[in-house]
């Protein structure tokens, strides 16, 4: 482990000065001479045949340069990619523009290119499409019934894929159980709502090839796919993710507009830009969650869970996006939560519906799993009349049991769940709170306490590697290149912290570059809390390699044997002669002067041998006003353990933002389609993102259990807040309503829903009294 000076310190971000001055460059800010603007006509129908598209009027509009329909592009752009390692997976042709049928509201149908944005939009308004509406299905459970409309004719059952596994003796455990506890749970669809919508700018020149600026989390992956979709050699494609205004998984994709804009630039030989409107963003950028399931647990009287069974239907929408098929199985794999459950059976069925695709949204699969297991633990506690905390403690694996193998087949690297929980209980004053709750209930007040203990899976690996390069220049400047393409997580700062510490150089001498396939040789991108835990490690290894090279150069310069040169106190010294030392920057300078090396540079690719599993406890305290259904969040406390922390300022920022999103799911957010497949939450007027006044001040604390799977002990923190918070908030609300006999409500827990529950219960009581 390195001696730290900067690692672990609250270093202010170097990303910030340009962003707070308004001179940071996002896709829409990039200026190129002769730029054209594209606008997209989208289907107003959830399901319709396209009989004819009339584009004449649009083409004639002054300022319009070109109009394209799906039929014209069909053989010129490949079908959009998805991951395909499931033998049951059915992949419908997913085209950049729909050809003869549209399958969701917002599906791209035609594109107009014009000299300016307003004219492009005018052109869209002039296109006439003869649609023949077809019956639509939006409910994933209905979609799988025989009576449902069929979305893709080749698969009349609308089944997109299946995934199942069973480990341990599930049936036996259910026979031995003292009690069976069941719960049906709905994970509503969510819209990620990065504040910067998507945007693509493509430019082609015969000398430079294709260059695409896109608001993405994965520039290198997009580059490979674009080359493939447009049949260009990869060497002719460059993808740049400039500043990216948030992603949360929604920009971890290859979207129709990316090859479309690239095609337009190739065709028109001029730069073409498309910037997504918010309305388009809610229609045609991936959604998250969207699962309906029934969980069943076999439990002992003392609260021990012997086995779980989970049957879930995933609503995947009309097509697969890049990782769509990977998410529901992820839920299955994480179902054990932070508990030792000997037998687990899972069956996932994924349904095609007439909606936009679901895919990875912050936490992707884990929030769903955590919600299932945490709500279940509460149900168990309630039915057995035990404290929810006791039930959790009884099912935790002990610290000595790590690495811990779950019945779903994962190996949890390290953990101390009891410690995080007890710290949280102490900080929040749990016993006092329960006493206060009792008093409050006596006075007819509805106070609720929700505890969620979670484990999360991060730093995807094996199979997912990341690239890093460190280069000490002759002038002493250190350049760091990373394939992780962060978008707000601050790795220009945290990576510089790591490298400055490793090489013993000044933080300000280190520059971090990312997001451009033209400057970074390869990479995967930023998702699944992997940027630091995988990307940071690649850079750490590259720095170590650079040090080895420096040691050899130092030996030559100092006329010593290589093994006699050691790195001590930021200098390479000859053993026993500490006076004679050189910094790495001096070595680079002198090596260049002596013509030994023009720079000291090394790169590295890190592929973790296992995932990391951060964990923690979140506690939420609410009070409900039964007359209005209003919820007041009185307290919110999170104790997170993400192993080693590089920069606590950034880690806390990630947790706070994450909690806000998880709380958003619990209380406010839902993408709602009506039965005809119309999107009724199509703008920010009806899709409720939490605002400053909706949220309380979160109290944060940490425990630190480093992971053994990487040399820095980093686990990752980007999604923890979202995963831990949703069940904590829902549990608190249900706990508050317990005196009314409410044992479950589906999210989002809007005031109206709560008010109805309160009313129903009062009405029920009145009926009983009569």
């Amino acid at each position: 482990m390195p001696v730290s000076k900067l690692v672990g310190a609250k270093v202010k971000r170097r990303e910030d000065p340009s962003l707070i001055r308004g001179v940071g460059e996002y896709v829409d800010d990039v200026k190129l001479p002769g730029i054209l603007h594209a606008a997209i006509l989208r289907s107003p129908h959830a399901h319709a045949k396209i009989n004819r598209i009339a584009v004449g009027a649009a083409r004639q509009l002054a300022g319009v340069v070109a109009v394209y329909t799906g039929a014209e592009l069909k053989n010129r752009i490949g079908t959009l990619p998805t991951t395909a390692d499931n033998p049951t997976l059915r992949i419908p042709d997913h085209r950049a523009l729909a050809v003869d049928k549209t399958c969701y509201v917002g599906e791209p149908v035609a594109a107009v290119v014009a000299e300016d944005r307003y004219t492009a939009r005018d052109g869209v308004d002039l296109i006439e499409v003869d649609y023949e509406p077809l019956p639509a299905v939006t409910d994933p459970e209905k979609a799988l019934t025989a009576a449902s409309p069929v979305i893709h004719a080749q698969w009349p059952d609308n089944l997109a894929f299946r995934w199942q596994q069973e480990r341990g003796n599930v049936a036996g455990a259910f026979k031995q159980a003292d009690k069976i506890v069941k719960q049906r749970l709905v994970h509503q669809r969510l819209a990620p709502i990065a504040m910067e919508t998507r945007g693509v700018l493509a430019n082609y020149s015969d000398t430079q090839g294709l260059c695409v600026w896109t608001s993405t989390q994965i520039p290198h992956l997009v580059k490979g796919h674009l080359a493939n979709l447009l049949k260009l050699p990869e060497t002719r494609v460059r993808v740049i993710a400039p500043e990216v205004g948030g992603g949360f998984g929604s920009k971890l994709n290859v979207y129709a507009e990316e090859p479309l804009l690239a095609f337009l630039a190739l065709e028109l030989k001029r730069p073409v830009k498309w910037i997504e409107e918010r309305r388009e963003n809610i229609q045609a950028t991936i959604h998250g969650r969207g699962q309906v399931g029934e969980v069943e647990a076999a439990v002992k009287k003392d609260g021990r869970v012997l086995a779980l069974r989970y049957n879930v239907i995933a609503d995947i929408g009309a097509y697969h996006q890049l990782f769509t098929p990977a998410i529901p199985p992820f839920t299955g794999l994480m179902l054990s939560g932070c508990y030792k459950i000997p037998a687990i059976g899972i069956a996932v069925r994924a349904a095609f519906t007439n909606k936009m695709s679901t895919d990875a949204y912050r936490g992707a699969g884990r929030p769903e799993a955590t919600y299932v297991i945490e709500r279940l633990m509460d149900r168990v506690a309630r039915e057995l009349k035990l404290d929810p905390v006791k039930v959790r403690q009884r099912n935790f694996p002990k610290p000595a049991e790590f690495p811990f193998k779950t019945a779903t087949g994962l190996v949890y690297d390290s953990g101390n769940y009891e410690l995080a929980l007890s710290k949280a209980l102490k900080l929040v004053g749990y016993d006092k709170l329960r006493a206060e709750q009792k008093r409050a209930r006596g006075k007819g007040r509805y106070l609720g306490i929700g505890v969620s203990t979670y484990v999360e899976i991060c730093a995807m690996g094996p199979g997912f590697w990341e690239y890093g390069k460190v280069d000490v220049k002759a002038d002493g400047k250190v350049k760091v290149y990373s394939g992780a393409s962060p978008h707000g997580q601050g790795q220009k700062t945290s990576f510089a912290q790591i490298v400055a510490d490793q090489l013993g150089v000044d933080f300000d001498d280190v520059e971090v570059l990312h997001g451009d396939t033209g400057t970074v040789a390869k990479g995967m991108g930023t998702f699944g809390s992997r940027a630091t835990a995988v990307g940071g490690i690649a850079i750490y290894h590259a720095a170590e390699e650079v040090k080895k090279k420096a040691q050899e150069l130092a030996a030559q310069l100092l006329e010593a044997a290589t093994e006699d040169v050691v790195f001590s106190d930021d200098k390479f010294i000859v053993k026993g002669v500490p006076r004679k030392g050189m910094t790495i920057q001096q070595i680079a300078r002198q090596a260049a002067a002596a013509n030994l090396a023009s720079e000291i540079s090394a790169d590295s690719t890190f592929e973790p041998s296992n995932f990391t599993f951060p964990f923690g406890t979140h506690i939420c305290v609410v009070e409900i006003e039964p007359e209005t259904g209003q919820i007041e969040i009185k307290k919110y406390l999170a104790v997170d353990d993400c192993g080693k922390v590089i920069n606590p300022l950034l880690a806390d920022g990630q947790v706070q933002g994450g909690i806000a999103q998880g709380l958003g799911q619990a209380l406010y957010e839902a993408v709602v389609y009506d039965d005809n497949g119309q999107l009724t939450t199509g703008s920010l007027m009806d899709y409720a993102v939490p605002r400053a006044a909706d949220l309380p001040r979160f109290q944060l604390a940490h425990t630190e259990t480093p992971t053994p799977v990487n040399p820095l002990g980093i686990k990752g923190i980007g999604e923890a807040g979202t995963i831990g918070s949703t069940p904590a908030v829902v549990s608190a609300v249900i706990d508050a309503l317990a005196p009314l006999g409410v044992s479950h409500l589906d999210m989002p827990l809007t005031p109206q829903k709560i008010w109805r529950a309160c009313q129903a219960s009062t009405a029920a009581k009145k009926r009983v009294r009569k």
Binding site: I20, R117, I275, Q656, G657, A692
Partner: protein, 167 residues
């Protein structure tokens, strides 16, 4: 196309004249015509606040104002807030408190905070949360933003007596 209208306005202290379509939004004038891309667009519905600028001393959502309506007016955008290399105290505080992540909401957020602190130099946490309620941030959970505004308020208030005594 509709005939263009001449307008004159002051942007960040300098006088500018343009010929614009009457339907051109102020935000597009600023971004696409004047080239000041610090003002962002995050929605189509005047909800997100990313496009907030000061128009004649009031924070407005520039996606809801037509450029012709701003004729003769004074506009302050994020680019005009710092004095040369010296950041405005609110900008300084956002940096200090980690009040941003992706930075997309930040210019609008800073200008809303600017308006608040002009009107209320000593806001409570609740007042800050209400003042920035028209600005959405998806990254930060708002806590560090609130901290930044509090810190900026402290910085911007006239210095206390003890400091003056020292001088």
């Amino acid at each position: 196309m509709a005939t263009k209208k001449p307008i004159t306005l002051s942007i960040n202290g300098s006088e500018k004249s343009y010929e614009v379509e009457p339907r051109l939004l102020l935000v597009h004038l600023l971004r696409d015509v004047a080239g000041l891309t610090g003002t962002h667009i995050g929605c189509d519905t005047s909800i997100c606040g990313a496009c907030t600028v000061m128009l004649n001393g009031n924070a407005v959502k520039s996606c809801t104002v037509l450029a012709v309506q701003a004729d003769g007016g004074e506009v302050l955008t994020i680019e005009g807030l710092a004095r040369g290399v010296k950041l405005h105290p609110i900008q300084e505080a956002f940096w200090e408190c980690h009040g941003l992540q992706c930075g997309f909401c930040t210019p609008g957020m800073i200008l809303s905070a600017h308006q608040l602190l002009q009107r209320n130099p000593k806001p409570t946490e609740t007042e800050i949360r209400h003042a920035i309620d028209g600005n959405l941030c998806r990254c930060t959970g708002y806590q560090h933003i609130v901290d930044a505004v509090q810190q900026a308020a402290k910085q911007m208030r006239p210095k206390t007596k003890s400091v003056r005594r020292k001088a």
